[in-house]
Chain length 190, copies 2
């Protein structure tokens, strides 16, 4: 345990049959205190030992006698998984013309300028930009943005579209973003 605490390890290979130590205790300490993946190597063949170890924090359990290539492949597999998740806390970004939306930050930038939209407006814009070629009917829009069934037309959507256009064209005059397809719906102008 002294060694384990001294630095951050990428992975721990733990032999449960080490003399003079309780492997199970070590395992649960590591599992509690760190994120380090732990692979157990053990001569214990009993299923229950395996299951207990996996349940108390082990990432894998390999029984002796083991195939060195398999162990190596398993180590690499865990490292791969570990690194991949560490590194990619994805950012999703939508782009269309000079509009950029960072969907994590829910931030809309038009021509370099950050624009403020209401929640409804924002959701409509995201929906349109998620399928730039699709024509969204009012029903589509309503059911996606409002999450409610659509009972025919009031002109709520029209108003939101109007406001969206107005804000967008204030930020970037002369550019048309949203196209009206008469009798059908709306889509981004291509």
């Amino acid at each position: 345990m002294i060694y384990l605490e001294k630095q951050d390890w990428d992975m721990v290979l733990l032999d449960l049959m080490l003399p003079g130590m309780n492997g199970e205790e070590i395992l649960s300490k590591i599992a509690e205190q760190s994120n380090t993946p732990v692979l157990i190597i053990s001569a214990k063949l009993e299923q229950q030992a395996k299951i207990d170890a996996l349940r108390s924090g082990a990432d894998d359990y390999i029984t002796k006698p083991f195939d060195i290539d398999e162990v190596s492949a398993r180590i690499d597999s865990h490292l791969r998984r570990y690194r991949r998740l560490q590194e990619l806390p994805m950012k999703k970004e939508l782009r269309y013309k000079n509009i950029v939306i960072d969907t994590e930050a829910k931030k809309v930038v038009v021509e370099g300028k950050s624009l403020a939209f209401t929640a409804r407006e924002y959701n409509i814009l995201v929906l349109l930009m998620s399928s730039p070629n699709k024509i969204f009917t009012k029903e589509n829009l309503f059911e996606n943005v409002w999450n409610e069934p659509f009972y025919g037309d009031d002109n709520t959507i029209n108003v939101h579209m109007s406001n969206l256009r107005s804000k967008l064209s204030k930020a970037s005059p002369g550019v048309e973003y949203i196209e009206t397809i008469w009798g059908m719906g709306y889509r981004l102008k291509s």
Copy 2:
């Protein structure tokens, strides 16, 4: 593959011996295109098949006949690892404006002064500071801090936000830390 692409799965259990499909191809497609953990279940006992699968993206390889408890424990182990890494790719020290959090000691220092927060307040603050640009919806907050599903709004979160702000501004008057994004959520003020 049709089913796989339709939504984000927490995990895929893949039987390599499915009739009419090439399991190896499916595996590498998943591995390339997503972060989903893949556990292989297979009747192939040859070491080389195991090693190949692990090397081409599988997270585990379980051979038939298998012990259902072991499989279950392995599934949980991988899910645990996956979730844990998803949630805390955390630095030991979080900084934002004049706030410094030592996440090991769970100590918050604002403008040199050590501040006392309750557990809830602390967790909320850490979450916000872990992604300073992200807007956290109430659902986000609830599911991360409470670890419970979110059934619509009571105003518990509002109250905690209010208390957080109040404590912070007592320690450092005039600075605004937490921004309300109307109809969307909260985030740190940039």
